[in-house]
Amino acid sequence: MKYIKFLLVGILFGIALSKGQVVSWYRIYEMFRFDNFHMYGIIGSAVVIGVFIVQYMKRTSMKDIQGHLITFNPKNMSISRYLIGGIFFGLGWAMVGACPGPMYILIGKGFFLIFVVIAGALAGTYLYGVLRSKLPH
């Protein structure tokens, strides 16, 4: 039962990204061409509201549902890791027009060739695990 809340939030997320057409290959292509404000409006408004949410949680020392302080784990500083990893991610994002969330949502929308993309994403994740010690971080 404790998982039901995550199922409901997932449904909300899936509907929002689907109705906002964030899951559309065309919208991602359009975003990278700077032809439409739509995707920038979505990510931008989510981040602006997100900044207020995080600041509010930090300043009020907000507790989570189980009574634990909500904490944010800062990422280790590096440039190469985030930049090179990010560039690979961006290359793939522009090709398949879907980041990991939309990949799953597209299954629910009946686009079954997305399983090929997900298989690729799992293979890429595995590849990172294998090569990790040899990559600059």
Binding site: W25, Y26, Y29, V51, I87, F89, A94, G101
Partner: protein, 187 residues
Amino acid sequence: MLEAVYRPWPWYVVGPLIALTMYLLLYFGKEFGVSASLRATCSAMGAGKKVKFFDFDWKKQNWNMVFIFGAIIGGFISSTFLEPSNAVDLASSTKLTLEQLGFERVGESFLPDQLFSPEFWTWKSIAYLFVGGLFVGFGARYAGGCTSGHAISGLSNLQLPSLIAVIGFFIGGLAMTYFILPFILPF
């Protein structure tokens, strides 16, 4: 009112709903980050026996699997009940560019037929989808997060690493869109 539900939702509705998703997950004691589930899936399939990176307690990501399952259901609900039209009302310049490249039925459904419609598949298009997915999976883990983890959660927390990652997302995405895709698409 009901008609507005059936039309595509504007950015100022969808953006806040994504922020709400992040808020709820934080309130439930979790961090919003979809690509972490890919690592957990590799572990669940036994990758931890061979590669140390996958040797971790993947069951701690069970909530994320349930969240993703919910997202799949959300996509189904949206397609089945909330989207009478599949049309994507693209900017005319984007539509024109794709038509000039040779895409057909541009924006008439969510995804281009030439890439995602089962009738159109070729070994080339399958390889393309797999390689694209590979880059996404590899890049997300290398950068330590994807759009949800870095662009939404990380930027909301004003983390410099996430800003660098998002700049990387755009360098890669722009290079692909302008310098590579015009020469390989459509098949």
